[in-house]
Amino acid sequence: MFGLNKKDGGLLLIVAFLALAAPFILNPFPEGSAMAQFNAGYPDLMQRLVIFGIFAIGFNILFGLTGYLSFGHAAFLGVGSYAAIWMMKLLTMNVIPAIVVSIAIAGLFSLLVGWISLRRSGIYFSILTLAFAQMSYALAYSVLTPITGGETGLQPKYNDPRILDAALEPGQSPRANLFGLDMKASSELEIGNWIFTFNTGYYIAAIVMLLSFYLSIRIFRSPFGMMLRAVKSNQQRMNYTGLNTRPYTLAAFVISGMYAGLAGGLLVAMDTQVGAERMFWTASGEVVLMTILGGAGTLIGPVLGAGFIKYMENIVSKINKSVLEQWFAFMPDGIEDIMITLIYPFVGKGWHLTLGLLFMLVVIFLPGGLVEGGQRIGKAFSRKKASDDTTDATKTPAE
């Protein structure tokens, strides 16, 4: 299918199913029930799940294949976002030019950064990319305020030029659209107690995510991807065979930068505003986290990692003391208090603590991420059965 072998085709189908059926899968609990707060089927979160999936897929092309650990990828996301919002301010509220331009600009910027940073490798490379990202962040906050809006950020305004659009009527606000299809438009489907929301913006983002996932499979399976993996396993040997690895790593860097730009453009298309904080270096750390947590160098890992982290972030942050009290209400008072005191630091505002712990645990015990975990479990089961050892297609790392 589409030039993929059976295994990869299956993988693509699984991801496609997950993405398209997400409004159902993420909404397993009926409205009004105690568990309804764990539903993630609302447009804003679903959009972020797939957009950060794109970001992580792109990062994985660089980190997973070549082993170059970039700590500055949020800068490309930010640059893409700014480019997109300017297109919306100057040209049209249609998302197509915004996204195309954001990819192009992020690609150019990553070409510049990569051209300089890839002269060094290892920790030096990480520090150089970090330096570039911090520089862009600092500049976006201070000197470049006329372009970036500084602390206030940017939003499309009523009186922006928008030369391709017809003039807005009084009282009408500019809304992102795809040839008239409003990004924020949703239709709801009620089945019994369940309410499922289908959002235009989400489905557009999901289709873009599927396309980028397909592209990343093709890159992984291409001779180019092979070359990148060779760089990871032994760059010195590659150089000794008389091969210049720089063009390959630079191409990988630019591709992953363009993915980040695409994610940035989509973020703006869904929610038309930008602030400099999405370029801060913790944002770069977050995408590293997603990729590692899912499984660096595997195809499906980054998507899983991004989904997992964004989902947990939303859900865990929502749990507060009264929710905990509700949960442990069945216990005797003393034990209930102890349980709440024990768990409370990790939920709500303590989400970052949970994230940090999770991250450490994954790096320490499961360097291959969730995918490796799934593989181990799968292996344990198949050993028990002692049946044919066909490995699960989704759980096979790319290496």
Binding site: L69, I123, Y124, M135, Q236, I292, H352, L357, F359
Partner: protein, 343 residues
């Protein structure tokens, strides 16, 4: 001339902090070969040691003072710190006033302890893992430490004043024969600079003039051979990790009066300190110190109004810009050695 002198002075205190953190980073990197992203968190914990210690000193109990009345006419309740009971009022107040310098005594054992636990409990298992794994696990640890501090101390900066004796400013200009009140400099920053100089000197002297330091230096050069000579080099490196943690902690303690401690101050300093280490040359102790002071001073020069008029925003990015230029022109940094992190 006086403007230049003022900027050099301004750069010294930040430069001292950079130099101290970079020194610790380099010690850990040089001995254990581990890139420690949690070092900024150690700096932050140091600053919070000062906060904790001054809180501990002002633990108090309530005493009813019969001689005074509050606005309702009842006897006034006065909070009396326990330290007054122990040492009397005058000495007690002096101790509370000097809480920050005194907390050095409290910080050193705490930080060495934290360093030991970190090294034995976590870092030890990462010696043979790739640098990327080391970066990632210490990055995770930094997040955890930061969030733990945030949970206990809250998200707001906690003002921690210096002793009253150092509250004023020192008129440098008058001393050197310039106009009075032109070059003034807070006393505490001078103290910080002197303190940093002493610590840096002590670390270098320890490595250079003691047998222990000699063994550690030998281990940095060739770990395997030292091990073959029957020396337990791991134990010594663990101790060096503790010392590096203590250096970061001390840098944090004394920095508390300059910049009220908040939970993310470590991260803010960490990124810059890494840049400092890279500029100075990975694995080179003198390079780290030199680059720390250089970049600190450079940063303060870039914040001058004259410079900002010429190139707006340069103060925000000067350090990163310098790092990029240095890495491209002198790939090993200012004083880097051959063969360290060349892969």
């Amino acid at each position: 001339m006086d403007a230049i002198l003022l900027q050099i002075l301004n750069g010294l205190d930040k430069g001292s902090a950079y130099a101290l953190i970079a020194l610790g980073l380099t010690l850990i990197f040089g001995t254990l070969g581990v890139v420690n992203f949690a070092h900024g968190a150690l700096f932050m914990i140091g600053a919070f040691c000062a906060v904790t210690f001054s809180k501990m000193l002002s633990f108090s109990h309530i005493v009813v003072d019969e001689t005074k009345k509050d606005f309702l006419g009842n006897p006034l309740k006065v909070e009396v710190p326990y330290i007054h009971d122990l040492f009397g009022v005058t000495t007690g107040d002096a101790i509370i006033d000097w809480a920050v310098p005194l907390s050095i005594l409290f910080t050193i054992p705490v930080m060495i302890g934290i360093g030991f636990i970190m090294e034995r409990g976590l870092i030890k298992h990462f010696y043979h893992r790739p640098h990327a794994d080391q970066i990632l696990v210490t990055f995770g640890l930094a997040i955890v430490l930061q969030e733990v501090i945030k949970y206990f101390y809250g998200a707001n900066p906690i003002p921690t004043p210096a002793p009253a004796a150092f509250a004023g400013s020192f008129d440098f200009g008058a001393m050197l024969g310039f106009e009075a009140n032109n070059i003034i400099y807070p006393y505490w920053r001078l103290v910080y600079f002197a303190f940093a100089a002493v610590i840096i000197g002590a670390v270098f002297a320890f490595l250079q003039f003691t047998t222990f330091g000699m063994v550690v230096r030998a281990g940095m050069a060739d770990r395997e051979t030292v091990g073959l000579l029957g020396i337990d080099i791991d134990k010594r490196f663990t101790i060096m990790f503790g010392i590096a943690a203590a250096v970061a902690g001390l840098a944090g303690v004394m920095y508390a009066p300059i910049n009220s401690p908040n939970y993310h101050m470590g991260m803010d300093f960490l990124v810059l300190s890494f840049v400092v280490v890279v500029v100075g040359g990975m694995g080179s102790l003198p390079g780290a110190v030199l680059a720390g002071f250089l970049l600190g001073i450079l940063e303060s020069f870039a914040s001058m109004a004259v410079v900002l008029e010429f190139i707006p925003g340069i103060n925000q990015i000067i350090i990163y810009l310098v790092a990029i230029i240095i890495l491209l022109t002198r790939p090993r940094g200012l004083m880097g050695r051959k063969g360290v992190m060349e892969d």
